[in-house]
């Protein structure tokens, strides 16, 4: 019988599984299913503790590494984009800064308008208004993002006021006024609104070319004159009241389009799914219409002939009132004519003496067509 290594007077009951020392009942310590002497156990526990400390240290190092890496990446990205935008803006405004604005202080013309999204940079001289950095002469370009610019060009004063779409935008209620020299007789106007509406009023002013483009908002144009007018609207409606243009193109996506008053040389209209109405126009020389699914209404009772019109409508109803004017109307209608009282001769309808100046109208329609005085 062996005796305990630590207590020689006692009989050994077990041996240490690490060093093989004989151990008495008191000295044999069970740890994780094995028997150890106190020295070996201290050694094993010490190693485990070291491992735990090493692991904790490693985890802490990893955490710090992750956090520092994340902050560096974020700083590089956010800082880089801010710097890039600053450079981009400096590059854009450089042209204006170098330009010579004869009649206005630069601060009035180069307007980094309360933020990054609105640009109104013009260089005005005796020959007209130009955007220096656009390589286009004679243009005022106003572009707004998340804004509703209201543009008024009356006499020699162009006023642009802004109302924002979202409550957290900070441009609300701001206004820019630019006075145009009296010797400038006409100007080009280019309005591009990314997400808002454009309300444009150009009373008593001849605009050589006006181009208005809105994405989801509506376009409202009143008392305006333009040599060339182009309106391109996304999902909102278009309303033209007392607008005159030698050449006018209107393109509307899903909203309604209404034209009241004014006079046109050439008027081209393309409407997607909305309805179209035109009335009280004093003169249209050439008119073409291409419609989607909406209705078409045309009141020519206050319009003086001649007029040459090509009207192509989709599934909606087409209604034309010619008033007391002479007219010859050629109709191809999917669902036929809707008025049996008309002096119809086949598909060609004649009103009054068409040897005089008259309306020459060709209609192709998928839906019903109603024509009357």
């Amino acid at each position: 019988m062996e005796h305990c290594f630590y207590h020689p007077e006692r009989d050994a009951v077990a041996v240490c599984s690490k060093c093989g020392k004989p151990l008495c009942k008191e000295c044999a310590i069970e740890y994780k299913g094995k028997i150890y002497c106190k020295d070996c156990l201290a050694e094993i526990k010490g190693k485990e503790t070291e491992q735990v400390y090493a692991k904790e240290e490693n985890t802490g190092r990893n955490t710090a590494k992750v956090v520092i890496t994340a902050i560096i990446i974020s700083a590089v990205i956010i800082g880089g984009i801010i710097l890039l935008s600053v450079f981009a803006r400096a590059k854009k405004s450089g042209g204006v800064a170098n330009g010579e604005a004869n009649n206005f202080s630069e601060s009035k013309l180069s307007v980094p308008f309360n933020g990054s999204s609105i640009i109104l940079k013009a260089d005005i001289d005796d020959s007209g208004i130009s955007i220096v950095n656009s390589n286009k002469t004679g243009r005022i370009e106003i572009s707004g993002k998340n804004t509703r610019p209201k543009v008024t060009l009356k006499g020699n004063t162009l006023t642009v006021s802004y109302e924002n779409l979202f409550p957290w935008d900070s441009n609300k209620g701001k206004k820019i006024t630019v006075s145009i020299p009296e010797n400038v007789k006409s100007a080009d106007l280019d309005i591009n609104v990314k997400t808002g509406s454009a309300y444009v009023s150009l009373p008593d002013t001849n605009v050589a070319n006006a181009e208005i483009k809105t994405a989801v908002g509506s376009t409202d144009l009143e008392n305006s004159k333009a040599e060339y007018l182009k309106i391109n609207n996304g999902t909102g409606s278009i309303r033209l009241t007392n607008v005159s243009a030698s050449n006018c193109t209107v393109k509307d996506g899903t909203g309604t389009c209404t034209i009241t008053g004014g006079e046109f040389g050439t008027l081209k209209v393309k409407v997607g799914t909305g309805t179209f109405g035109i009335s009280s126009v004093s003169k249209i020389r050439t008119f073409s219409y291409n419609g989607g699914t909406g209705d078409f209404n045309m009141d020519l009772s206050q319009t003086s002939p001649p007029m040459n019109a090509t009207i192509q409508t989709g599934m909606g109803e087409t209604e034309i009132k010619v008033g007391e004017n002479p007219a010859r109307i050629t109709v191809t209608a999917g669902n036929g004519l809707n008025d049996s009282s008309l002096p119809a001769t086949g598909k060609v309808l004649t009103f009054g003496n068409v040897n005089n100046p008259h309306f020459e109208i060709t209609i192709t329609s998928g839906g019903k067509v109603r024509i009357g005085r």
Binding site: K65, V67, T69, I73, I77, K145
Partner: protein
């Protein structure tokens, strides 16, 4: 959420708020709310990406997608990319696609993830091309019609066929 993650989140919120406040006061941005959101997306995306790489996780595509989305949002805010709804959709698709693709290089490579990422990225690129560039009507119609149609078919085929060695029916 671990203690470190919680502390980082609070720190990121405060830093984003600080950046937003400073740039708003200086009139550099006019959409403070979205600046705050995009800064937070970038910071959180960067954190979880860095964590995934450090701890050698199998998949870090989600934090990468969040990071890319934050970057796109910042580009919109600072007018480096003109915002429109279709460009936003393109940005979301590109973020997801790039997240899946880049994850393969920074974490475990997966053929399936790579292919899905490339498809979604191409989807987003097509949207971006037709929205941002002044493409002709014909090209635009082709992209929005055939191009996207073909990609949807490929995505359908990818979903029908199970991944190699996994998802066996019992």
């Amino acid at each position: 959420m671990t203690e470190t993650e919680g502390r980082y989140l609070i720190g990121a919120i405060l830093i984003s708020f600080g950046i937003t406040y400073a740039l708003s006061v200086a009139n550099i941005v006019n959409s403070p709310f979205w600046l705050f959101v995009s800064c937070l997306l970038v910071m959180e995306g960067a954190y979880y990406t860095a964590k995934g790489i450090t701890l050698k996780k199998d998949d870090i595509s989600f934090p990468l997608a969040v990071l890319f989305l934050g970057i796109f949002e910042l580009l919109f805010l600072f007018n480096l990319i003109h915002y429109s709804f279709s460009v936003f959709i393109a940005a979301v698709l590109l973020s997801i696609g790039l997240g899946l693709v880049v994850s393969n290089f920074l974490a475990k490579y997966s053929y399936r993830k790579m292919l899905s990422g490339i498809i979604v990225t191409v989807f987003g690129a097509l949207f971006a091309i037709s929205s941002m560039l002044n493409v002709t009507d014909k090209v635009d119609r082709w992209i929005r019609g055939y191009g996207i149609g073909i990609l949807i078919i490929i995505l359908g085929i990818l979903i029908i066929f199970p991944p190699k060695g996994g998802n066996r029916e019992r």
